[in-house]
């Protein structure tokens, strides 16, 4: 479904991604880990289209999307959840969902707020909110939500816009331990719906729960790409996270 081929990204002369190559098949859930600053978010930004690659190709659903602007990539099914909560805090939960429903490819946009179509959209939005337990807060501003609730809203919203591929950037960041389970639940629901998921996370034990594959990034390169058990056991993981002390033997 998604293929990155030899992707290179530079900022002001610093090489952030160097020759990143991997593929994700339909329905797979792949975790991406690596130390801070190794280029994970840049990788997502490149896939989403906010950052241009200096070389390499990006293929999504058998189409080369390297030249497509971000909104067209989104229209073709590429969804994104942002680390710093990409929800619109100044708008209500209902409005956040409505934007997604209205933006979905092929959606008919109602002209009048009282028309049938508008009511149908609103009902649909409420049903999405209901599934994540946020229906009572539908008309409150999104800024009143907790971190976990914001994350649920954002993932639900990406579902509502009709995304097939989900790029989740640290979905448990800023989420209380209690709500983490709700986040896990919604990710599992995405899996049962047959969605393809890429998750950036720090905790490998966490993503082990639902990832069939883990990619380890370090200094802009893919270092490991394997099933979670083998990645965990790999010596190189310790080196990447803790550094290798040349004088002592581990």
């Amino acid at each position: 479904m998604l293929t990155l081929q030899d992707l290179h990204v530079s900022f002001h002369g610093t090489r952030v991604l160097q020759g990143v190559t991997f593929s994700v098949t339909h329905g797979e859930t792949v975790g991406i880990i690596g130390p801070n600053g190794c280029g994970k978010t840049t990788l997502f930004n490149c896939i989403s289209g906010f950052v241009d690659a200096s070389s390499g190709t990006l293929t999504f659903q058998n189409k080369d999307i390297s030249r497509l602007p971000p909104h067209q990539r989104a229209q073709s099914g590429l969804g994104r959840v942002f680390q710093n909560f990409g929800i619109f805090r100044e708008m209500t939960l209902l409005e956040n969902l409505l934007i997604a429903i209205e933006a979905k490819r092929g959606a008919a946009n109602p002209l009048f707020p009282w028309s049938k179509r508008a009511k149908k959209n609103e009902a649909l939005a409420l049903s999405y909110l209901n599934e994540v337990g946020l229906a009572e807060k539908a008309r409150s501003k999104a800024s009143s939500l907790s971190g976990g609730q914001m994350r649920l809203l954002e993932i639900t919203r990406t579902l509502a816009v009709g995304a097939d591929l989900f790029l989740l950037d640290e979905p448990t960041a800023g989420v209380s331990p209690k709500m983490k389970e709700d986040v896990v639940a919604i990710i599992k629901r995405l899996q049962t719906l047959g969605k393809t998921i890429l998750i950036i996370e720090h905790d490998i034990t966490f993503i082990q729960k639902f990832c069939s594959r883990v990619i380890v990034l370090n200094e802009g390169r893919v270092v490991l790409d394997d099933i979670p058990e083998r990645v965990r056991a790999d010596e190189r993981l310790k080196d990447i996270y803790f550094g290798r002390d040349e004088e002592r033997v581990t």
Binding site: S48, P70, E90, A100, E102, A103
Partner: protein, 298 residues
């Protein structure tokens, strides 16, 4: 009691209502870009001028009928905004404000210097009142009635815009552009549309203004005028539909009591300016924590 009735129906009151109507259209249309879209467009008054001059020229030189003039004004202002947008929308924040300011100043300079077209500082006199269905629109009360129709229609249109999917998408992209893009919204297109509608509204106001005053010159489209319209939107809260309506009426009427004090007419203009500027500053100071939220990005 009859004195009150006379006061209400007097030419003075009618004049105030016409002014309110004009500024209702101007402020609500600026609210679309500045309020919802967080676009600091200082060239709004230039759109106003484009509309006014289009109607003035068509009505005097080509003797075009009312509907032609109004439609032409609305469309020319809209297209003008697309030109402005092509330049200004590449700029961010501070630069956007200066860029639109510069654009507006170029227009101002053209109004004053392109004498063959605009007649420079002499302006364009003799704009006839519209000839519609036999109504005597030279009577200001009748003109006010015509204008009220336009005001109500535009306010309704803007209400529909604000509560439409377009309005939601505009508000979203103003807060977090990449999130809006990630939902599949073409942000550049949306911003251009916002500019178009906003400017078209100002163009309509310009057209009505030209008909009302029968004479226009560059001095009505100054930086001071822009600051006034901006003040209305800020005082009414940017993005708030009803707030801007209330602020328009409040700010147009607020300095009027000055007229009844025994002060020299030369002081009226600066006094109004002082009142408005002080109010602007006070509101900005009071709302400083929420007025211009930082735009979020990855």
């Amino acid at each position: 009691m009859s004195l009150l009735f006379e006061a209400i129906t007097s030419e003075y009151t009618i004049h105030l209502c016409v002014l309110c109507g004009l500024y209702l259209i101007l402020a609500q249309s600026l609210n679309l870009t500045f309020g919802l879209g967080q676009l600091f467009n200082l060239a709004h008054v230039a759109s106003y001028a484009v509309g006014a001059y289009t109607t003035a020229l068509l009505a005097t030189e080509a003797e075009s009928p009312f509907w032609v003039c109004v439609t032409a004004s609305v469309l020319t202002s809209g297209v003008f905004a697309l030109l402005l947008g092509a330049i200004a929308l590449r700029l961010s924040n501070d630069y956007f404000a200066i860029g639109t300011l510069a654009f507006s100043s170029v227009v101002s300079s053209l109004l004053i210097n392109w004498r063959s077209v605009t007649h420079g500082v002499l302006g364009i006199p003799g704009i006839p009142r519209p000839d519609l269905l036999g109504a005597d629109l030279y009577q200001n009360s009748h003109f006010l009635a015509l204008m009220s129709i336009f005001v109500v229609v535009t306010q309704v249109l803007f209400y529909l815009l604000y509560s439409s999917p377009f309005g939601r998408a505009l508000r979203g992209l103003a807060e977090y552009e990449q999130a809006a893009l990630a939902l599949g919204r073409d942000t550049r297109l949306i911003r251009n549309f916002a500019f178009f509608f906003s400017s078209a509204g100002a163009g309509l106001a310009g057209s009505l203004f030209a008909y009302y005053l029968s004479y226009i010159d560059p001095s009505s489209f100054s930086l001071g005028e822009m600051v006034f319209i901006l003040t209305i939107v800020i005082v009414g809260r940017p993005g708030s539909y009803w707030g801007v309506i209330a602020a328009t009426i409040f700010l147009v009427l607020l300095p009027e009591p000055l007229r009844f004090l025994q002060i020299d007419s030369a002081y009226l203009g600066p006094a109004r300016q002082l009142i408005h500027a002080t109010l602007l500053f006070s509101v900005v100071w009071w709302k400083r924590r929420v007025l211009f939220p930082q735009q979020r990005q990855v």
